[in-house]
């Protein structure tokens, strides 16, 4: 028995050795625009990763099916499963970075990893609404873009919304705002901005950290009960969202005064709380629902009118729409690059130029079927954020809907913060800021 086992084992190892000898690079045709996709369809954050990936891919499929690609250049994409794990994300990046047009890390950990590597590997990073907020300063982060908006802008927009709801920014004076946040760099993102605004507008800010993963939050919500805030901001991720919303409902907190960040406001977050989640609000920066022109196009060209199949792929859900707009931005950037460099496969450097000179006008949005879905956007060399506006959406028990106007962030507060943070990074890493005026 032992001998046979050993023999089997030797065979296994030999086979393993043979496999290991093979190189691992995707074979790609030279005339296709390659976009690698870092997705997380398994693991603890899969409920959020699946719709995002589906949205992104469906838009690429639309371009392929309807237009034959971008300006005639076919698009090729390849998924790589990261399980939202930084190490696996690095492995995926190294495997797929050759010839990549743009990379969307879809994880703060992976983004931080890739930021120093991007200039060396010549692959631009698009961390849409997440990642390192300081990357909004393009003079220092030449290869990183986080448009259309960032966490700090969102925090300021939330305060603006609260002020509006209370009847004016001056009414914020004696209000109490609690921030329930995930105890990680991601969760701590809004703290500096909210602290500055607390000093400016006079509201009382209470910071309540929830330890990863946030499955058990009794202590936090007991403190909320004692503090009796007027408004709560939620900066959570994964299971922390579901539990927070449920706990808030169970302490009978008025859900319409409970606002989550855009990663805490999707369909899967409100599922377990059921009825209790009604009225919960969240921030968002793109269209809600499936009633836009682009959706009709996707239904027609990608699903051939089959609505059930589309719904099975999270069609029209919040995160699906997020993936979709991400794909729109990326492909429009490639198109912009083609405008300068000609219709062909764009290199990383060229796509970077395209991202930096992206100018999405109202007219162009309308032509894409995105009227009202996104706001016009102009990226510049200094501003990789685009200062995009944010709005508030609300869950009514069945679906999300937009309940506020587009709110512009407080640029005068946020931009100096961004520039400070970027300058510090530059100092620590010996980076000389670019001179935007002298570049093209």
């Amino acid at each position: 028995m032992r001998r046979q086992n050993i023999k089997v084992l030797m065979n296994v190892w030999v086979a393993v050795g043979l496999f290991m000898a093979l190189a691992v690079t995707p074979v790609l045709a030279q005339d296709e625009q390659f976009i690698p996709l870092l997705v997380y369809r398994t693991g603890p954050y899969a409920p959020n990763g699946i719709p995002t990936a589906n949205g992104y891919i469906d838009y690429l499929k639309l371009l392929q099916a309807r237009d034959g690609g971008i300006n005639g250049v076919p698009v090729k994409w390849e998924e790589c499963e990261t399980k939202y794990n930084t190490k696996i994300g690095v492995e995926c990046y190294e495997k797929l970075k050759k010839g990549a047009a743009v990379i969307n890390p879809y994880s703060t950990g992976i983004t931080y990893q890739l930021l120093p590597k991007a200039p060396v590997d010549q692959v631009p990073i698009h961390s849409m609404g997440y990642g390192r907020t300081a990357a909004a300063d393009g003079r220092i982060f030449k290869w990183a873009f986080n448009f259309p908006t960032t966490y700090w802008s969102q925090a300021s927009a939330f305060v603006k919304y609260v002020g509006e709801q209370e009847g004016g920014m001056d009414k914020l004076k004696d209000k109490k705002i609690a921030l329930v946040y995930h105890n990680s760099p991601y969760g701590k993102e809004p703290i500096p901005t909210l602290t500055i605004l607390a000093e400016k507008f006079g509201y009382d800010l209470k910071l309540l950290a929830v330890d990863h993963p946030g499955q058990e939050q009794k202590a936090t919500w007991l403190q909320v009960r004692r503090y009796r805030p007027d408004w709560i901001f939620l900066w959570g991720w994964g299971v922390m969202n579901q539990v927070a919303i449920k706990e808030a409902a169970s302490i009978n907190f008025p859900m319409d005064h409970f606002i989550g960040v855009w990663w805490s406001g999707s369909e899967s977050d409100v599922v377990p709380a059921g009825e209790g989640a009604k009225g919960y609000k969240a921030g968002n920066f793109h269209g809600v629902g499936s009633g836009f022109g682009v959706h009709a196009e996707i239904l027609k060209h990608v699903y051939n009118g089959d609505e059930t199949a589309a719904e099975g792929n999270n069609f029209g859900e919040v995160l699906y729409n997020r993936g979709l707009i991400n794909a729109v931005y990326d492909t429009e950037a490639i198109r912009t690059a083609m405008g300068k460099y000609g219709n062909g496969v764009m290199s990383g450097e060229q796509v970077r130029w395209g991202l930096e000179h992206l100018d999405l006008t109202e007219a162009r949005l309308k032509a894409l079927g995105l009227e009202g879905y996104a706001q016009p956007l102009k990226v510049t060399c200094e501003d990789h954020e685009g200062n995009g506006p944010v709005f508030i959406q609300q869950w009514d028990g069945q679906k999300w809907s937009k309940v506020s106007d587009w709110i512009s962030p407080m640029r005068e507060v946020v931009r100096p913060q961004i520039e400070n943070a970027a300058a510090e990074y530059a100092k620590e890493n010996n980076i000389t800021p670019r001179d935007c005026a002298s570049e093209g």
Binding site: A46, I50, N183, V239, Q242, S250, V271, P272
Partner: protein, 312 residues
């Protein structure tokens, strides 16, 4: 400095004294949370007691059981039938584990057995996700989830019912263990494997039974936790929260799991609410372990754990 010292040693107690009703609420919430931890810890204890294996995959078994239940219910199976079927699945799983894994690893040292359960952990993780998907699933077993106001404290009905269920579970287990034949056999095996086989107790049957019971306990825990957060992957991480409970109570004691859970639950919540703000929050996790460690310094085998007598 003195400000900081006051904040650590004096203010929290003043705080507690000035709001006694709130303090009571914190303590009761802690007890209820602790009960939930105990339910997960029970599964570990049962298996460790009878087969000497630290079942690393207990967390994933909780997830797997909950996933199976919810998966069946989503396909239209009525609740009572889904429960029965899931219990059947857990029993089959226990049988398979014993047959494929435990039987081949009889008498190996504890680390090898631990590693085997780690392999099982990955296996069940992948299988659960493959069979039932990775989306968050709502688990509704008909337990009311709203809160009721008692003497100025807000208590959640669900938590109270969970506490009752846990009490019933422990009572049933205690009765089974003391009064039935198989319970006696379990205690015999826990005491001494070889002596038990010498009197004719079939080890393999006992192991299947214990893993099956542990699987059912995992199902109950999975229902309780899954109803709170939706059934998703993170459910398996609950096992980490149960570890300090296990260690404090003693790895081989069922009452230890309950008492340990209560102590850890209260300790955690009180620490977080009264000392948390001073230290910046989120101290629950490490505090639980530090608390367990402090207890262990006085009783190195846990509060109710079996004392291992070492001879040279």
């Amino acid at each position: 400095m003195s400000e900081w010292l006051t904040a650590i040693f004096i203010s929290p107690f003043l705080d507690m004294a000035s709001g006694p009703i709130f303090f009571a609420e914190v303590v009761i919430s802690g007890l209820l949370a602790g009960v939930m931890y105990s339910m997960v810890a029970l599964g570990f204890v049962l298996i460790f007691k009878a087969s000497g294996v630290f079942n690393f995959s207990q967390g994933v078994m909780v997830l797997f059981a909950a996933l199976t239940l919810v998966g069946l219910m989503e396909r239209g199976v009525p609740l009572w039938l889904a429960l029965l079927l899931t219990v059947a699945v857990m029993i089959t799983l226990a049988y398979a584990i014993e047959r494929v894994m435990l039987r081949q690893l009889v008498n190996q040292d504890p680390f090898t057995l631990l590693m085997a359960t780690i392999g099982l952990n990955f296996f069940l993780e992948g299988t659960g996700e493959l069979l039932w998907g990775s989306n968050v699933k709502k688990l509704d077993v008909g337990i009311p989830e709203d809160s009721l106001e008692v003497a100025g404290m807000l208590l959640n009905k669900f938590d109270l019912i969970a506490a009752v269920i846990a009490a019933v579970l422990v009572t049933v287990l205690a009765v089974l263990s003391q009064k039935t034949k198989i319970g006696r056999a379990l205690r015999a095996v826990a005491d001494d494997h070889q002596a038990a086989t010498a009197v004719g107790i079939p080890l393999t049957t006992i192991w299947v039974t214990v893993w099956a019971v542990s699987g059912i306990v995992a199902l109950v825990a999975g229902i309780m936790w899954g109803a709170k957060s939706g059934v998703q992957f993170s459910l398996s991480l609950i096992a980490l929260k149960a570890l300090p409970v296990l260690i404090l109570g003693g790895l081989t004691s069922i009452p230890g799991a309950i008492v340990g859970g209560l102590i850890i639950g209260v300790g955690e919540k009180v620490a977080e609410v009264y000392w948390g703000p001073v230290l910046g929050g989120a101290i629950e996790n490490w505090f639980a372990y530090v608390l367990a460690m402090v207890f262990l310094m006085f009783r190195p085998h846990g509060l109710f754990g079996e004392e291992i007598i070492e001879r040279v």
